[in-house]
Symmetry: C2
Subunit: 446 residues, 2 copies
Amino acid sequence: MPNLDTIRSLFYAKSVAVVGASANPSKTGYVILKNILEGGYAGAVYPINPGSESILGVPCAASLGDVPGAVDLVVIVVPARAVPDVMRQAVQKGAKGAIIISGGFREIGNAELEAEVMAIAEAGGIAVIGPNCQGVNYLPNKLCASWPLIETRGAMAVVSQSGTIGAAMGGWAAEDGLGVTATVALGNNSGVPVIDLMQFFAQEDDVRVIALNIEGVRDGRQFMEAARAVLQKKPLVLLKPGRTAKGAEAAQSHTKSIAGSDAVFDAACRQIGLIRAEGIAEFYDYSKILSLLPKPAGRRLAILTSSGGSGILAADVAEDLGIALPPLGEEAVQALREKLPPQCVLANPLDLTGDATADRYRVALEALSAYDVADCFLLIFGDPIAGAAEMADAVRQKLGKPIVVAFLGGGEVEKQEVPLLIRAGIPAYPTPERAVRAIGALLRKS
Amino acid sequence: MPNLDTIRSLFYAKSVAVVGASANPSKTGYVILKNILEGGYAGAVYPINPGSESILGVPCAASLGDVPGAVDLVVIVVPARAVPDVMRQAVQKGAKGAIIISGGFREIGNAELEAEVMAIAEAGGIAVIGPNCQGVNYLPNKLCASWPLIETRGAMAVVSQSGTIGAAMGGWAAEDGLGVTATVALGNNSGVPVIDLMQFFAQEDDVRVIALNIEGVRDGRQFMEAARAVLQKKPLVLLKPGRTAKGAEAAQSHTKSIAGSDAVFDAACRQIGLIRAEGIAEFYDYSKILSLLPKPAGRRLAILTSSGGSGILAADVAEDLGIALPPLGEEAVQALREKLPPQCVLANPLDLTGDATADRYRVALEALSAYDVADCFLLIFGDPIAGAAEMADAVRQKLGKPIVVAFLGGGEVEKQEVPLLIRAGIPAYPTPERAVRAIGALLRKS
């Protein structure tokens, strides 16, 4: 698969030139250069700007041709009309990849200019991301040719037509302590095909889930075939807005995507096991759980909660999704009765009540670990429960089943515990409903 | 309405005793006392604990009878079996209100003990919140007899059967800069009826929305009649979990609530204009928008976005909810064409594209203000757009229509701008979908 080598040489570039680098902090050409430098990229970095001696302390070259060393990757931020010339220089310089941030091409009717650029790149053997995109952040190479700068490395590869949706995914993942392997913005997506990017991430060891946001596919059958192959290796979460007539109309003006029938597309997704997210929050939530947990052995869920009300909210969504909340069974209830204080409600949800500590969860989980009560556990921490992460991490092995957490109403303690949970590989969500819907997505894994 | 006076004297208590105050930071009796002191309560505070000289620097009394001054409000944190005696002392002391945090009553089968306590209180003219509850935070009196300590004062009154759901609402409101007027936890709700609390907040000038979380109602007809009267004055957002059979079963074990038919209840809510939230996130989102904005004059929405993809997600949800996205009209489009750069997509959603600044939004909104294009505006900031809050606040008056914001993918700038927006009275949401659903709730206002 030669395309994958091309992508690899783009993402693992040993030297990067930023054409259109700027000393003005409000310019994209400044932000990108700064993020590459601050992200800890170990290769050579060359700002290109004929009007500057140096930017951010790095010597500038007037053009690509003036760069002293080799240039593997060219990041292009100059106005659209100047891009064909830059691409010619990139070919001469022997670059292997180009990320075209600049807009002003097909999306505003300049299809010919875009075709010209792509023809030069193709003839010169340059793999292109973009144009009209928010760039690439590839953490295994510490190469953030994008914004914002996300440095937390995780197991989620985000491939997103929308730069904003990719940036939001990266931002939430950084804040959660979850991290990403990569965010790749597609923009007009005239170069490296989406299918090739999916295949590339499918065979990268780091990646446990591919999160794909697209507004349309050129060839539905080809896309589904490729997705099916990818799904043999990795789960694939898809956010494809434009479900409705109004949304499809907006998608058409945005990236000139042809949405086609959403119902037909949706049915095809279900058939091959592609997990479609209803909205951007679910896109993140589903990708998070799939980057951390294996699929449970069955659909039985046990809920432990310090908040009765939150347990009910979780039970409602579980029933909506056909996730079973089986009774715990007489023996398990008897074991819990011996260990827990009398106010606890020994059912499923198991209500440990408002004065529950992390230790009460541990006692209950250890007691339950002797019985086959469920395939997956949801722990709802509905109070400032200190030590929740440490407890859940410690009890996990004994339990031998996936654990998911909802943490809410916990003030400062919650803010400390949530990233600890996630870094321990336990997905945590801010509401019971989001946690249960994420479990629903995990159960849809192939 | 004498009940309202009773509630007022409870919330505006000039002196508070915490019976069961503790010097152990892991105890509720410590946390409550600390929050009352740190919240800036101006009245007299009396920790009651026979084993301590002073707690948190405040002199202790051995019992309520030993308190030198008057005690308006008694907060009770001692074990259930000791509560009748404390209540007798409270009556002797002339207290007007009691908040019973302690659990161990009806919810675990001790209905007789609870009845005994309530009979003492009733005979002594004491209004009771609880038992088995997370207390009361009443910001106009800076009285946080609850946890966590929320000090940001807003226009939302939260009345919540679940302490956790109330705490989550308060926590999110504080983080957002939105604030609350009060959070009142109901617990077993054996004292002051929910209906009275609704009526009290309906006539408080500070309050612009009442957020009510209950698991069941004793008398559906009476509740709906009271809610209808409240809705003449204030919007009422309801979260009532237990929609499904499994959820209703969990609600039954939690607070012994009789859920009744959810479909019948739901239909009654719709009939009287009560806005029901589907889950806890919507409970917050709907209460937020209703505490900040009036109802738009019609169902026409105009969307301005820097992120085409986010605009499509918003358009999808708008169509789901029957919110119209009308064309902007030829004249308005012409005006925009003269003012905006050529890459902008002059439709609804209006795509200002990825390099949009706050000033480009201003230019577009000022141009649109001359035409009657919509009844409400959604601004999606899908990038680190500095100055977004200042711009939106400044342009609002010229526009003369409600503005709602979705901010995502904005990194550090987003974290700075969101509380600024909310403090300026502009509701901001982390996803386009949540923003549009909130607008849907605003349109359901009576």
